[in-house]
Symmetry: C2
Subunit: 218 residues, 2 copies
DNA sequence: CGGATTGTTGAGGATACTCAAGTTAGGTGG
DNA sequence: CCACCTAACTTGAGTATCCTCAACAATCCG
C-alpha cells in the first residue's frame, strides 16, 4: 500500500491499551468498531446458551479482529479478552465499507485473513469430529506453538499464560482430562512448566501423537 | 453490478453438467478453476490421513465454491461431488485476482460468502465441542432444512438424497448412531422417509431437542 | 499470610463406539 | 416386470473412552 494511502487509512484510527484480563469487546455487544492487534495477545471466546464456554481462536500481533461487518452481523459474535497486556488499533465500523471500496489491497487482505481462519476452523472441525481427546490436545498445543511460540534450541516456548481450562475449551474436553494428559506428557518429558509458560520439549513426539502414529500416554 | 460489467465477467466462464455421483474436483488436485453452482446440489467432503471422511458443507444454487485462491492454496482442500444432477459455471483461477481487483462488488461478495461459511464453521465447532450426539444430529438436520429445504404445510422437505452415512460425517458420529436416533424420531413422528427425501414433520420439536430443552428420545 | 483461583487425582458410570449379523431398499439386467 | 445383487440400513451386545462428582493440593496475589 502506498504511504499516502496508508496515511489515509491510519488517520481514522485510534489506539487503546488493555491490561491482561480486560475485554476489548463482549459477545452480543453492538459492533461499533473493528480492530488490529498491534502488540500482545488476545483470546476470542463464545458462551453457549447453556453457559459452556469455548475458545474460538487466539489473536496474534498484526491480526485483524472484530470484523463483524464481514460476517454481516450487527453484533460481535464472541468476546475478546487480553491474556497479556495488549495494544490495539481501532476504527469505527462505519469506515469498513468505504475501506473495502477504496482500498482493494485491504479487501484482498480481509479475504485472505478470512481464508486463513476458515481453514483453521475446518481443521478444528475435522479434529473434533474424528480424533480422540489426546490427539486433539496434541494438535491444539502444537497449533499454539506454531502461531505464537518461540523456538529455543529445538524446543518451543509459548510465552503467554494458558490455563488447562483454556486448552479444554479449545479441544472440546474438560479441565480434568487436559490435566491428566499434560501430566502424563510432562512425566514422559514431552513438555514442561504447564502452569504459566508452557515449553514443548519434544515437538516431534507430540506430532506423532497428534497424527496417531504413536500410542498415546493415557 | 452493471449489465456491461456482468457481461465482461460472464465472458470468461464456461458451463458444465455433472450427473449425480460425479465429482467436480478432488481433494489435493491443482486448483485451476473456481465455480458457481447454477443448479443442483453438491457436497464437499474431506478425507483424513486415516481415511475417515467428513462432510464440510453442502453447496446450494448460487453458491461460489472451489475458491482455493482465497485460502491461498494451490490445491483444492476438499472434494466436490454432485448429489443430484447439477450445472456449474467455471472460470480459470487465473481470472481470480483480476476479478477481485476490477470488480469491487465481487470482492465484497466473496468476503460475505466467506463470512457466512466462517460463521457456519464456528457454529459446527461449538456443536462438536459441547453438544451430545442427538443434539448435533438435530442441528445438522435442521440446518439442511434451512439451507436447502422446501416448506410443505408446516413440514420441511429435504428434496435430495441424503444418506445416514452423510449425516454421520456431518456430525462426527457413526452411521449406527444416526440410524438409532432417526429411527427413534420417526417412531415418535418427528420425521419421515429417512431413506431418500427426508421430511421434517415437527421442526419445532426438533429445535427443542437441538437446544436441549426436550429430553431426547434415546 | 490467607483467601481464591487453578490444578490433581481417584472412583464410578454414561454415552456412544466397535463388532457382528441380519434386513430392507433400490437399481439393474434378463 | 420380476429376480437378483449390491449398497444402505437396522439392531443387539459388549466395551472403551471420557465425563461427572468429589475431595484434596498447589499456586497466585494482594
Amino acid at each position: 500500500m502506498a504511504p499516502a494511502e496508508l496515511d489515509d487509512v491510519l488517520r481514522g484510527a485510534s489506539s487503546r491499551r488493555f491490561a491482561a484480563g480486560e475485554t476489548v469487546f463482549e459477545q452480543g455487544q453492538l459492533a461499533t468498531e473493528f480492530f488490529v492487534l498491534l502488540n500482545g495477545r488476545l483470546k476470542v471466546t463464545q458462551v453457549t446458551p447453556e453457559g459452556q464456554q469455548i475458545v474460538v481462536r487466539m489473536v496474534n500481533s498484526g491480526d485483524l479482529f472484530g470484523i463483524a461487518k464481514a460476517l454481516r452481523r450487527p453484533d460481535y459474535p464472541g468476546t475478546a479478552t487480553a491474556v497479556v497486556e495488549s495494544l490495539v488499533l481501532e476504527w469505527p465500523m462505519a469506515n469498513w465499507d468505504s475501506f473495502m471500496r477504496d482500498h482493494p489491497a485491504m479487501a484482498v487482505n480481509a479475504i485472505q485473513t478470512m481464508g486463513g481462519r476458515l481453514q483453521e476452523a475446518h481443521t478444528r472441525m475435522r479434529e473434533l469430529a474424528t480424533e480422540e481427546v489426546e490427539r486433539r490436545i496434541a494438535h491444539a498445543v502444537l497449533r499454539l506453538g506454531q502461531q505464537s511460540g518461540k523456538k529455543e534450541a529445538g524446543c518451543i516456548r509459548i510465552d503467554f499464560p494458558i490455563s488447562k481450562q483454556d486448552i479444554a475449551e479449545m479441544t472440546g474436553t474438560t479441565l480434568h482430562t487436559v490435566s491428566r494428559v499434560l501430566t502424563a506428557w510432562e512425566t514422559a518429558g514431552l513438555i514442561e512448566g504447564g502452569r504459566q509458560k508452557l515449553l514443548i520439549k519434544e515437538p516431534h513426539k507430540l506430532l506423532l501423537i497428534g497424527d496417531g502414529r504413536m500410542p498415546g500416554l493415557l
